[in-house]
């Protein structure tokens, strides 16, 4: 990603997670408040690795210039069933960004030509079977 994308954000660590919060002069003003959650959960430590979150990738993934794979409906279908997809993309083993019809949808884990989805399966399924699935909070009126 281009240098400077995250310059406007604080990167805050709590336990094994990192959170991005837009910089603002007001943060010190409200520092006495007991805060439950701060900004966007961006990374978490998984074993020896730092893993970006799906939500962070959905916000910032379009800045990526490499390690992006455009997946098809068939690919998503396979991943939704728990299978991997194959790719000959030339990248090192590690996380890649997956996009679908031009929209960044989340992360995949690339290991020796095989990609395993890191997107929750329920979400993946609905990318393909649109219209057949109800999500309880999708019709809220708040």
């Amino acid at each position: 990603m281009a240098v400077g994308i995250f310059d406007e954000y604080h990167l805050l660590k709590k336990n094994k997670s990192w959170w991005l919060l837009r910089k603002s002069d007001y943060i010190t003003r409200v520092s006495s408040l007991k805060v439950v959650m701060t900004g966007l959960k961006a990374f978490q430590e998984v074993g020896r690795y730092i893993k970006p979150t799906t939500r962070m990738i959905q916000v910032f993934g379009h800045h990526a210039a490499r390690s992006v794979l455009d997946v098809t409906e068939d690919d998503i279908d396979k991943m939704a069933q728990g299978s991997y997809i194959s790719s000959d993309m030339e990248v090192d083993n590690g996380y890649i960004i997956m996009s679908f019809k031009g929209a960044v949808i989340g992360l995949g884990l690339f290991i020796d030509g095989r990609i395993t989805s890191q997107i929750p399966r329920r979400d993946l399924a609905s990318f393909v079977y649109q219209g057949n699935m109800e999500i309880s909070n999708g019709c809220q009126t708040d």
Binding site: R29, V30, E134, T141, D142
Partner: protein, 302 residues
């Protein structure tokens, strides 16, 4: 059978039309989340799927009616945060408050987060929003909404709204308070029609609403603005609460320009006479705007 809203016959204009509007299902409205998606591009994406959406009003580029869409929550565009299904009147609350870029905002009763995320959109993710929600169980939908919609300028706190610490001041406060929710009731087939009891967890709603509004006012800096809103028709939860604030604090009721037809606030309900300035508050009815019934008061401190 008498309508549960019969008691409002005298205050709701064109009452038969109002009752008739309640027999229609609640329409689907979408807010395009411009933090993540360009509205014109989103319209084109949905169009390619055969989903027809049309602007809700002139002069707003991201609010749409989606009459053919029964389950927006199943769309890819929902899951990646490009759209948020939200009642039109709920959207108007954030629009009427319209916090400036880089301002400091408190949303006193934030869950499930649609209005909070809308405020972040209006502020283009700048400044800071404190999204307060007392109940831990309601932090989950609140956090989910904020994360899905890419909100990067908000923190969540967990105070009782009427006891939010007063050692900081905000430029804007949204007090979208717990209410009896009458404005959400539609007499659709199979639905139970009943009046929600006017108590919440043992507290009288108007009493709690007055305390929240007072605290919200005390948290505003001088000249700061607050929006008080409910989704109920009950004057005891609306004008009466704002009238109480007028009696206890130095405030100004500001005019509301939401771009939609509304009725002015009441100055008389049963035996209670309210301050004439309450005519500047707004009552949104479903037969006028085809959305959730809503009340708003735009308040400036000082």
């Amino acid at each position: 059978m008498n309508s549960p809203f019969e008691c409002y016959r005298e205050i709701i204009p064109d009452f038969p039309e109002f009752l008739e509007s309640l027999s229609r299902p609640m329409p689907v409205h979408l807010r395009v989340n411009s933090l993540k998606a360009e509205p014109a591009k989103l319209v084109s994406m949905l169009d390619k799927k055969g989903i027809d959406i049309m602007p809700s009003c002139e002069g707003n580029r991201y609010l749409f009616n989606a009459p053919s869409l029964s389950s927006p929550g199943s769309l890819l565009e929902y899951l990646i945060g490009y759209i948020h299904p939200q009642a039109l009147t709920s959207c108007l609350a954030s629009i009427v408050l319209s916090p400036a870029y880089s301002s400091c905002v408190l949303d006193m009763c934030a869950s499930p987060g649609g209005k909070t995320a809308h405020l972040a959109q209006i502020m283009n993710n700048s400044g800071l929003i404190v999204a307060n929600e007392l109940y831990r169980t309601r932090h989950i939908p609140l956090a989910h909404t904020l994360l899905r919609l890419g909100v990067l300028n908000a923190v969540i706190t967990s105070y009782q709204a009427q006891e939010f610490p007063v050692n900081q001041q905000f430029d804007y406060v949204l007090a979208d308070v717990p209410c009896s929710g009458e404005g959400r009731i539609r007499h659709t087939v199979g639905a139970e029609i009943s009046r929600t009891p006017k108590k919440s967890r043992g507290h009288s709603l108007p009493e709690m609403q007055k305390k929240i509004l007072l605290r919200g006012c005390d948290l505003l800096k001088s000249g700061g603005e607050m929006l008080y809103s409910t989704c109920t028709y009950n004057p005891e939860e609306n004008e009466s609460v704002v009238n109480f604030l007028l009696q206890n604090r130095d405030i100004t009721i500001l005019p509301i320009d939401a771009g939609f037809k509304y009725e002015k606030g009441l100055t008389l309900w049963r035996n209670d006479k309210y301050d004439a300035r309450l005519e500047r508050t707004a009552r949104f009815y479903p037969h006028r705007i085809d959305s959730v019934g809503f009340f708003m008061a735009r308040i400036r401190k000082g």
